[in-house]
């Protein structure tokens, strides 16, 4: 399995470094969006977010100072240009 060229993965590792400490959107499989500042991310896609806002169907439902998201629920992590 270790035959994969490292260049394949480079775009992922650079993205992870890039988004550290930046505002991101995390979408879960359930369709719920979490917008916040990415504090931490691991190989399971477990995520720690700060200043988190919870959006259900595009509407703000809740705010959390700090939030931990278990990686198995994560659909994607996206960059966020500015608050929409």
């Amino acid at each position: 399995m270790s035959t994969a060229p490292p260049s394949r993965k480079e775009a992922l590792t650079s993205f992870i470094q890039q988004i550290h400490g930046r505002p991101v959107v995390v979408k879960l499989n359930s369709g719920v969006d979490y917008r916040g500042v990415l504090a931490c991310l691991d190989g399971y896609m477990n995520i720690a977010l700060e200043q988190t806002e919870e959006y259900v169907n595009g509407q703000l439902k809740n705010k959390y100072g700090d939030a931990f998201i278990r990686g198995n629920n994560v659909l994607y992590i996206s960059t966020q240009k500015r608050k929409v």
């Binding site: 993965k9 992922l12 499989n29 996206s78």
Partner: protein, 90 residues
Amino acid sequence: MTSVTTNPSTLLPLELVDKCIGSRIHIIMKNDKEIVGTLLGFDDFVNMRLEDVTEYEATPEGRRITKLDNILLNGNNITMLVPGGEMPDA
């Protein structure tokens, strides 16, 4: 394992995906979701880095479209990858 990798006439599935790096790709997910974007890279789990992404969700109210700049997509829910495919209308 080694016989597969050394035989030049066989292409490993992930090598096919590797050929798509830099081009548009259509991703069909589990649970009525499809994603179109430019593939920048992926890992052994087929987690993917995508750019200029459009996400299509089938909802009871119709199709919901979300545009995204740059994403790290979890490979866990991917069903199929279609190279070069743009989303059909309809």
